[in-house]
Symmetry: C2
Subunit: 229 residues, 2 copies
C-alpha cells in the first residue's frame, strides 16, 4: 500500500558540514583527513550521522562542535544528497549544512586532533564522495544569502574595518569591487556602527573599526535587503 509505514526502507542519515572561514588570505574551508575506511587518508568534509532522537539542525551543530569546539555558529541547511552509491559502504543519504566561522577564534587543539586543516577555496584538494558537489553548492548559496541577509559578519571578528568587509565580499563573490561604491552601498543599509576605535595594524593612518548593529537591523525590517555589488 502506498502510504504504509514500514521499517523495510529505513536508511542512514548523515550530515556533512561545509565550514567556511575567512582571513586576510581569503575565503577558506575546513577539511579533515579521514582516519577510517573507506577513503582513509583522503580529504573530506566534516560529517557524522544523525541520531535517532536528534533534529538535523542539532546534528549539524553537534558535529561542528565535536571537531572545532565551536558553539553558537551560524549554520544553514543546504541540500539532501541521495545517490545510491554515494557512500560505498552503505546506503546513506546526506544532508549538507554550511557554517560560517570567525577563523580568528577557532579551536586549534581540536582541529589538530582531528587532522583538520583550513584550505583556500581556490586550492582545496579533491574531496571524497560527492563532497566537491556539496562545496560548490554551498558557495552558490553563500553568495546568494550574503546578498540578502547580514550573515557575512559571522565570518569577521566582532570589530572589523571596511577593508576587511570589502575583501570578504570580494572573496565570496570572487570578483573585484569598487571601494567607494561598496562603502556607500553598505552605509546605505544603515546596519553598521562606526566605532571611535581604529585598527592600527594595516596602515599608518589607521582605519576605523565597525560592528554589525544587530538590534537596528532587526527592528528595521522583517524583509531582506538587496545588495547589488
Amino acid at each position: 500500500m502506498l502510504n504504509s509505514y514500514s521499517a523495510a526502507d529505513k536508511v542512514l542519515l548523515a550530515v556533512d558540514c561545509i565550514i567556511f572561514g575567512f582571513d586576510n588570505e581569503g575565503l577558506k574551508i575546513l577539511l579533515i583527513k579521514r582516519d577510517f575506511e573507506p577513503e582513509k587518508g583522503k580529504w573530506s568534509l566534516i560529517g557524522g550521522f544523525l541520531k535517532r532522537d536528534e533534529v538535523l539542525d542539532n546534528a549539524a551543530t553537534r558535529i561542528l562542535n565535536t571537531y572545532t569546539g565551536f558553539q553558537d555558529i551560524y549554520m544553514e541547511q543546504l541540500y539532501a544528497y541521495s545517490e545510491i552509491d554515494r557512500d560505498p559502504v552503505e546506503r546513506t543519504i546526506s544532508v549538507s549544512y554550511y557554517a560560517l566561522i570567525n577563523i580568528e577564534n577557532h579551536n586549534e587543539e581540536l582541529i589538530k586532533n582531528y587532522h583538520a586543516q583550513w584550505f583556500s577555496i581556490a586550492d582545496a584538494p579533491k574531496l571524497i564522495f560527492d563532497h566537491d558537489e556539496m562545496l560548490e553548492h554551498a558557495i552558490r548559496r553563500l553568495r546568494y544569502r550574503t546578498s540578502i541577509k547580514p550573515i557575512g559578519f559571522e565570518l569577521l571578528p566582532e570589530k572589523f574595518t571596511m577593508r576587511q568587509l570589502l575583501e570578504l565580499y570580494e572573496a565570496i563573490l570572487s570578483k573585484e569591487l569598487d571601494k567607494r561604491n561598496f562603502i556607500s552601498k553598505i552605509n546605505s543599509l544603515e546596519i553598521l556602527i562606526k566605532l571611535d576605535e581604529k585598527d592600527m595594524q594595516s596602515s599608518r593612518k589607521g582605519s576605523y573599526l565597525y560592528t554589525f548593529n544587530k538590534e537596528k537591523y532587526e527592528e528595521k525590517l522583517l524583509n531582506d535587503f538587496v545588495l547589488n555589488l
Copy 2:
C-alpha cells in the same frame, strides 16, 4: 566512535510534494484528503516514502506520477524537515519537493481516485504536520527561482499569451505588475517565440500566442538571468 556506521539510528525518509498549478483563477496547489491514520480526513501534501534503492529525485517523481499520472514534470528539492514529532506515528524525516504542473493537462481520473483537489493558494485549508511550513517555503523558493530561471513556462500551456504570462508572474509574486514594463522586460530576455497564431478566447481582437524558445535560451547563456519585476 564518532564515525561508525551503525544500523541503530536508521530512520524513515519521506518525500512530500508541493504541486503548483496555474489557471485563469491564479496559482493553485494540489492537496489530498488523507484516507488513512493519522490525521485521516485532513488535507495534506502528496507524499510517500523513499524506497531503499531509490534516489530522492526519483521518489519525488514516482509519488507525483502515482497521484497525478504526470511524467516529465519540473521538480526541485526544497528542504529536509526533521522535527522529532513531526509525524506522530514514527520518527520520519521528510524531504520536500515542489513541482510545476500545466494544470490544463492534469489527469482527472487519478486525482479523483485519490480525493485530490486543487486549491487556490490564498484559500488553501490548514494542512497536517508541518505541511503549511513546507508550502510557505515552496512559495518563497518559487518566487526566487522564477526570477532567475525560465521555469514559469512549466505552469503554462505550450502556447500562451502575454497576458497569461503576466498573470502568472502576478500570481507568483502576489503583486500587480505594469503590463507594458512587464512585456518589455520579458522581450528583452529574448527567449520567446511570437507565433503567427492568435488566441481568440479572451478578446475580439485576439492576442498573439508565444512559446518558450528553449533552444535559444540554452545556447544563449549558462548563467541565470535577472528579472526585476
